[in-house]
């Protein structure tokens, strides 16, 4: 049993393809406070590389990535 991460906003990005998962994360991160966390659930395999790259470009942080079947779950922390 892994420790549950508390999040401020959940995004359903299932079925969306490049560049939409990363665009949606970038748009929604503005709606949470610095230090807040977004839980984003995507299915696009490309997002596995894209969202960490986006975080590195923008100075935010992917604190955890999980896979559940086809779902890829990101916990993204707004750092700035």
């Amino acid at each position: 049993m892994t420790e549950e991460i508390k999040f401020d906003l959940e995004l359903d990005l299932k079925g969306l393809l490049c560049p939409l998962p990363m665009v949606k994360v970038s748009q929604n991160i503005k709606n949470i406070a610095v230090g807040g966390i977004i839980k984003a659930v995507a299915t696009d395999p490309g997002s596995l590389a894209d969202i960490p790259s986006w975080a590195s470009s923008t100075g935010n942080e992917v604190i955890k990535t999980e896979r559940e079947g086809k779902d890829i779950i990101f916990y993204v922390k707004r750092v700035k």
């Binding site: 994360v25 970038s26 748009q27 986006w54 470009s57 100075g59 700035k80």
Partner: protein
Amino acid sequence: MAEDKKKKVTIAVMSGDMDKLMGALIIATSAAASDMDVTMFFTFWGIRAIKKNVKTGKSFMGKMIGLMEGGDISKASPSKYSFGGMGRWMFNKMMKKNNVASLAELRQMAIDMGVKLYGCGMSMEVMEIPREALIDEVVDIVGGGFFVEHASKSDFTLFI
């Protein structure tokens, strides 16, 4: 690590092909989402991507081009398997099925995210496409000097 100064990207779009416009717009929106300043310079066949669905051309040849290049971004055909419009129909259907944004949606997304669109004055003059035939969001009509200046100040530049 992101620095305080925004990174800059300049993309010259010469192609009016559906697939290449899609690549250009996906990179532009990805860069904008990554907090970068994005400038897109549309020239020659690429002008289609910033055109309204209107007839253009004054001279016989200009009207011919207006006819051949008529329509807006949604009329762009793929560079392969075009088959006189069949290819476009087929790709649009396949993309819709997979939830890929259409070219028009991608362009709107780019505009909403602050991507700046510019038209090439020379191509517009040659093809007899007036400013009024371009979508209102186009920032300005510019030329090679503008592109070179922006490209030289960019962190990366693409020619599509």
